[in-house]
Symmetry: C2
Subunit: 394 residues, 2 copies
Amino acid sequence: MRTGPSQEEIRRQNLGALLRHVHLRGATSRAELTTALGLNRSTIGALTADLASAGLVSEAIPKQRGRGAGRPSLVVRPESARVHAWAFSIEVDRLQAARIGLGGVVLDRRELGRPRGLVAAETAPLLAGALKEMRRAVPPGTIGVGAGIAVCGMVRREDGLVRLSPHAGWVNEPIGATLATELGADTPVVVANVADVCAFAEHARGAAAGCDNVIYLYGDVGVGAGIIAGGRQLTGHGGYGGEVGHMVVNRHGSPCECGSRGCWETEIGEYALLKAADRPEAFGREAVLAVFDAADRGDARAQTAVRQVGDWLGFGVGNLVNLFNPEMVIFGGTMRDLYLAAAAQVRSRLNSVALSACLEHVRLRTPQLGNDAALIGAAELAFERLLADPLDAS
Amino acid sequence: MRTGPSQEEIRRQNLGALLRHVHLRGATSRAELTTALGLNRSTIGALTADLASAGLVSEAIPKQRGRGAGRPSLVVRPESARVHAWAFSIEVDRLQAARIGLGGVVLDRRELGRPRGLVAAETAPLLAGALKEMRRAVPPGTIGVGAGIAVCGMVRREDGLVRLSPHAGWVNEPIGATLATELGADTPVVVANVADVCAFAEHARGAAAGCDNVIYLYGDVGVGAGIIAGGRQLTGHGGYGGEVGHMVVNRHGSPCECGSRGCWETEIGEYALLKAADRPEAFGREAVLAVFDAADRGDARAQTAVRQVGDWLGFGVGNLVNLFNPEMVIFGGTMRDLYLAAAAQVRSRLNSVALSACLEHVRLRTPQLGNDAALIGAAELAFERLLADPLDAS
């Protein structure tokens, strides 16, 4: 008979499970780990000792002692200051860079404006420059696990090539490979779509923790979604699943940058809102927020625009609820602002479009990780290798 | 350290893996099983002996001897005549019942007309009657693993309740529980949506074998989809995922039986085609096929109808390709006929709606299992328990 996984394989799996637990949940007592992982006390002790000697976790006696008479259970923490990933977010009009500690802690960050039209070969040196600047403040003896990049565009799963980012003006841009060349062989680089990494982060440690069927809508100029189905990210065959912004909802609608017509993002994207608010010359996140502000202050034109675009938001969410039967929809990026400003329209249209069985358990939420979701999610891309095999990758 | 799965657990997993292999692939030599399952010859021999003594497989020397000088490898076959599941398909205007042997062989079948409006309490006795009739021809000593039902409607995952089947006129019909009462405790009953079971069957042993991202469109009066994402069935939170017929594609379109307006099935369902062909009083599968026949014979009105409805078919498939990035779309039920009659329109509209990255690997196919997919898929629901633990369930 085959003997199943070897002791060594099981040990690696358990090391990964323990490290993942404290990475996602934070400081955890040995007693809680025993229950959570279904392992006995001595195994937890041995695993923790291995992770501690690799510099990945630390153990301490908790300050608050319980009422029990016994020894307090040691608390295991991720070594957030010592183990880090580099995280980047490439947005239409800005670049973000951060150093994220194990446990999802933002240790340092930079933000740069991004001239429109900057290609990968021009963007990578800016990201590498931000990294090098942050690296000066990193104490010696730390462990870097690599870098993750979130991009507002379609990313090929097999190699991280950005196939298309219409709003950033990118076609087939190898940003991952270009940045990897800048950073050197000891810093592996992983690339993914921004909505996918936000969904991953909110599912791992945010609003959707514990939910197996989630749609995370992300809006900036365009609109995308990260989709969790049955507890796993929906990637599709090439990595392009979740292009909800290009679901055609208005067959005779406006031309879309993708070449089609009446795509959902032509009705709910940045330009749709600004045009409806009679500000067709404006662009950018500030201009979008100004419309919500104006609506809030009673500007009738802005209010009409918000209601109209909010109605289309609810319409498309209704379609997605029928297709995916999620238990949660999260509104991120500018979709958060739109949802908050037009919740009544969203809910009303959603209720009229969605089937009642699909609607009955769906919760509408805003991101718990706020604007850090993209960076924290990008870091998760890099941490994944460490969590899969802690002692090999560290 | 935890010792991992026990020898007994590993043995059960391996028994299931071997039985699943011959169930899906048919007769397989021991040598091929050794390679396919990654187990050594003596383990394969021991597992096969266990399954054979439980009456689930048989072994024989192959008739055709190879060129090699050594002993021929014994061939392991599923005991199709001896191990069976009962399969039922509840369609809008007919009921199908079958006895399906291990390996997916149709051993016997019955078809009954179904008066519209028949509720679960009236339908279950008809199904049970067909089963009892077929049971008379079953030789002694056979093993029945239970029954599966495919329903054109939304099925609650946790208990098989049919929440809604607008075209069959069902709301909250407990067909599974009702049939289980008819059949007795030794025949467990599982219920699922017909598009889901067809997708499962085509993925397991049909056109989509080996494809991890698949959309199976199923049309009768309405339209639904079974979706395979990342190799697994997309069920959604309650089991209602894949309600593509209620993706609204035409906001100002016709009212839908679901209560909404402009749902995809109002543009591509049975009624849309018959109306476009100027046959609004007609209904049923025969009437639909008559339109395709007429178009084939040069009837201009029928040809226009087929082109118009085919265009809407391509439109919706384009949306689904952007959302799911599948590698294959299968057109089943009446969607098969529509696709074959209007392939040029489907392809042309799909190409204009879908993003090029999502399009590049997508293949359009008709079902390999033909009209038996629903019954074979329904039987798979029942076989699943046997395959999960062959010696316990048999």
